[in-house]
């Protein structure tokens, strides 16, 4: 990945800073002002970087754009990047370094729930602010945490009724990754399937390193469902989509997912293997809006890489965009001022995937959700869009207006 038009330099403390070019800051007339510091802790290396690389680039690009347009509150924004190497121990170290030593105003960080849960107590302890730009299982209730990605109810309340209605697929078989996300998502799947008069035949969990899905495929064939619901995650689990197509085939059984595509799975499967998978998403490159098209072409030009950007790339721009708007409303980049602005519930941003508005009660994001179907060109056809889906699962359990000091991650009892 190339970062052209970028300057790299190292700060005194060793973090890699991607500051906007001095020329750009001069043109914008903000070079002399004290910068507002943003920390970005993501996995540039290690097994999880497939989710991070586009997001790292999108964060840098969005900050460049803010600086070119005159900065935030008349001050330049400085980005400090830390590579957490897909290892939570580094999330812990770099979060502390960013907050205590580099004195950043906000941290945009974390892909996995476990990395977020390592950093969140530190952010609470050192009174910082954490933007978590990833889809996750929901339920985090913490004033110092903002979630900008999708939570299960947002996706499933659109996806399940659609699949059951359009395809008459009442009997479902659920496969999920064996960690929090998969467990909680599968519970929501069961609940919403039953609420819609369907039947959940079985739920199976798979550790993230499983590549042989033949036993599961045999069990699926024995159970004869109409639809297989997948919340499988990561590089190894891509094997399922391939083995499913080879043994059963999507023409014989519907396959729908909450996670397909976020790890750019469609680029790694053959046209037939990817064709026809249904999913609910808040952003795909194929969205036919001007905002989406312009974001995709800008990021591709910025990185010099014309491949698919996808949801996790867009999350980077979304997170920075929402934070910047909150800073503008607060008139002050310090974490507590930004939190006060977010708590009022009026932070809304028009982004590449439509309108994002942060709910003051939960600090989770309401967004448009689209039902899309994988096609033979490693892209997606948009089937139906649902406007402004709220993070209903988290709203059920979290009320930061009533309990501003709450820091719990709730698990929805179903």
């Amino acid at each position: 990945m190339h970062f052209n038009r970028r300057q790299f330099f190292r700060t005194a403390t060793g973090a890699l800073a991607f500051a906007s070019a001095t020329g750009m800051l001069k043109r914008a007339g903000i070079a002399a002002e004290e910068p507002i510091r943003v920390g970005n802790i993501l996995d540039k290396t290690g097994g999880l970087n497939i989710y991070s690389l586009k997001q790292i680039a999108a964060v840098a690009m969005t900050i460049d754009e803010i600086n070119a347009a005159g900065g935030l509150l008349g001050r330049p924004v400085e980005l400090l990047f830390y590579d957490s190497q897909s290892d939570n121990q580094f999330n812990s170290q770099y979060a502390t370094q960013a907050l205590v030593k580099d004195k950043v105003n906000v941290i945009h960080a974390g892909i996995t729930s476990s990395s977020r849960e390592v950093m969140r107590p530190l952010v609470d302890k050192f009174k910082g602010l954490l933007f978590y730009n990833s889809l996750y299982e929901g339920g985090v209730c913490d004033r110092r945490h903002v979630s900008t990605g999708m939570v299960p109810a947002q996706q499933l309340e659109a996806l399940i009724p659609y699949v059951m209605g359009e395809h008459g697929a009442k009997r479902g078989y659920i496969l999920a990754a064996d960690y929090n996300y998969g467990h909680i998502t599968s519970k929501w799947m069961q609940k919403i399937i039953r609420d819609n008069g369907g039947e959940d035949l079985a739920v199976e969990f798979f550790p993230l390193d499983v590549t042989n899905f033949e036993p599961a495929i045999a069990r699926i064939q024995a159970a004869k469902p109409d639809v297989v619901w997948s919340a499988l995650v990561g590089g190894a689990h891509i094997a399922f989509y391939r083995q499913f197509e080879a043994a059963i085939g999507k023409k014989n059984m519907v396959l729908a997912s909450t996670t397909y595509g976020v790890g750019l799975e469609q680029l790694q499967l053959s046209p037939d293997e990817g064709d026809g998978i249904l999913l609910a998403t808040s952003f795909v490159d194929d969205l036919q809006t001007d905002a989406a098209k312009s974001f995709v072409s800008k990021l591709q030009a910025y990185t010099g890489d014309n491949t698919y950007v996808g949801e996790y790339g867009e999350y980077g721009a979304r997170g920075i965009g929402i934070w910047a708007e909150a800073v503008r409303q607060a008139g002050d980049p310090s974490p507590d001022a930004v939190i006060a602005a977010l708590a009022k519930g009026g932070v809304k941003v028009e982004g590449a995937g439509g309108l994002y508005s942060v709910d003051g009660k939960t600090q989770h994001t309401t967004m448009d959700i689209h039902i899309v179907r994988g096609n033979k060109n490693a892209g997606f056809d948009i089937l139906k869009s649902f406007s402004q889906q709220p993070p209903k699962d988290t709203q059920l359990v979290c009320d930061l207006e009533a309990n501003p000091n709450d820091t719990t991650q709730y698990e929805v009892k179903i």
């Binding site: 060793g14 290396t45 580094f90 370094q97």
Partner: protein, 335 residues
């Protein structure tokens, strides 16, 4: 080095090190203290492996099993009881008990060299897979969810035993881990100078001969294995206290690989070797992570290959050899 009582200069350097370590937090900010404490904690883990391998001749790839077990036991006990002092000691005891079981199984089964390495590695892999599979809400010990892949967050900080209301902050963890590292190092060094240590080293050199002298080699090896398990467990507890989290990654193959790298880089024949190796390698990967130089594992792989092929003895012993060589050369010239 084993067998001799430490010389005065050794005690002097320990004393100096202690003074420096105890004074250090006043000159370091919190982030640096955090970075350095984790090196001390991981150095304890490396020390447990280096002691077993370098002094006892047992190459255990699975010290991470006891490391992870210590961390998890502490987390579960402390979260359940709300009391950390007893959790601290019970967690170490549990790691030792587990080491006793595994060690008895292997050592009294006369399993030797490479097979011992394989079994310890497999043990840590089983624990990792097992812990990873506990994401469901049915996996609860007392009131604590094991939480699978995500691990347990909110592991309590250590409270002062005489005043449970006060929790150790980052500087406290720094003092504690520094002090424990020095204590364990000095303890092991003195142990090696004792008759137990001499027998242990004798077994490493020639097990048959020591047995013919009437010692039961298995008992000595098992004792060393349990001791090392306890040290690894201690490191695990401190790891949990340090970051307030424990996760299945503590048992992972990569973690196990890192321990081996630390020991190789520092040199296993000296007790201080693993400590130095941990410091060098951890500092390196921490620094590489902020340099944007690409895959850290690539550099670690290169380091490991170079050390195995070229500097077999590790950094410190190699440096000592080099110094001795230069001295000899100089001495000859003068003569």
């Amino acid at each position: 080095m084993a067998g001799e009582r430490p010389a005065w200069w050794w005690w002097a350097s320990i004393g100096t090190a202690l003074v420096v370590l105890m004074a250090a937090p006043s000159y370091l900010d919190i982030a640096d203290q955090l970075d350095i404490s984790i090196i001390f904690i991981l150095a304890l883990l490396a020390l447990s492996m280096g002691f077993l391998w370098g002094q006892g001749g047992m190459l255990s790839f699975g010290q991470t099993a006891f490391f992870g077990l210590g961390g998890y036991s502490y987390a579960v006990l402390a979260l359940n009881t709300g009391e950390t002092t007893s959790a601290f000691f019970i967690a170490i005891a549990l790691s030792m008990a587990f080491a006793l079981a595994v060690g008895y199984f292997m050592i009294y089964g006369r399993i030797s060299d490479i097979y011992l390495s394989v079994i310890t590695l497999v043990v840590t892999l089983i624990l990792e897979k097992g812990i990873r599979a506990t994401s469901g809400d049915q996996y609860v010990i007392g009131s604590v969810r094991l939480n699978g892949q995500n691990g347990i967050p909110t592991v309590p900080s250590l409270q002062l035993p005489w005043n449970p209301g006060t929790e150790l902050f980052i500087d406290g963890v720094f003092y504690l881990s520094a002090a424990l590292l020095v204590l364990v190092y000095v303890g092991l060094r003195l142990l090696l100078a004792s008759s137990f240590g001499r027998v242990l080293v004798g077994i490493r050199e020639n097990e048959r001969r020591v047995e013919l002298l009437g010692y039961d080699a298995r008992r000595y090896k098992l004792a060393a294995f349990v001791l090392a398990g306890g040290i690894a467990g201690l490191a695990g507890v401190l790891y949990g206290v340090w970051g307030n989290f424990v996760s299945p990654a503590m048992f992972h193959l990569n973690q196990a690989a890192q321990v081996v790298i630390w020991v190789i880089v520092g040199g296993k024949s000296w007790l201080i070797g693993p400590v130095a190796g941990t410091a060098v390698v951890q500092y390196l990967s921490n620094w590489l992570g902020t340099q944007g130089v690409g895959q850290v594992s690539l550099w670690l792989g290169v380091v490991l290959m170079i050390f195995v092929l070229v500097f077999r003895e590790g950094l410190l012993p190699t440096a000592a050899l080099a110094i001795a060589w230069v001295r000899r050369r100089l001495g000859r010239r003068e003569a």
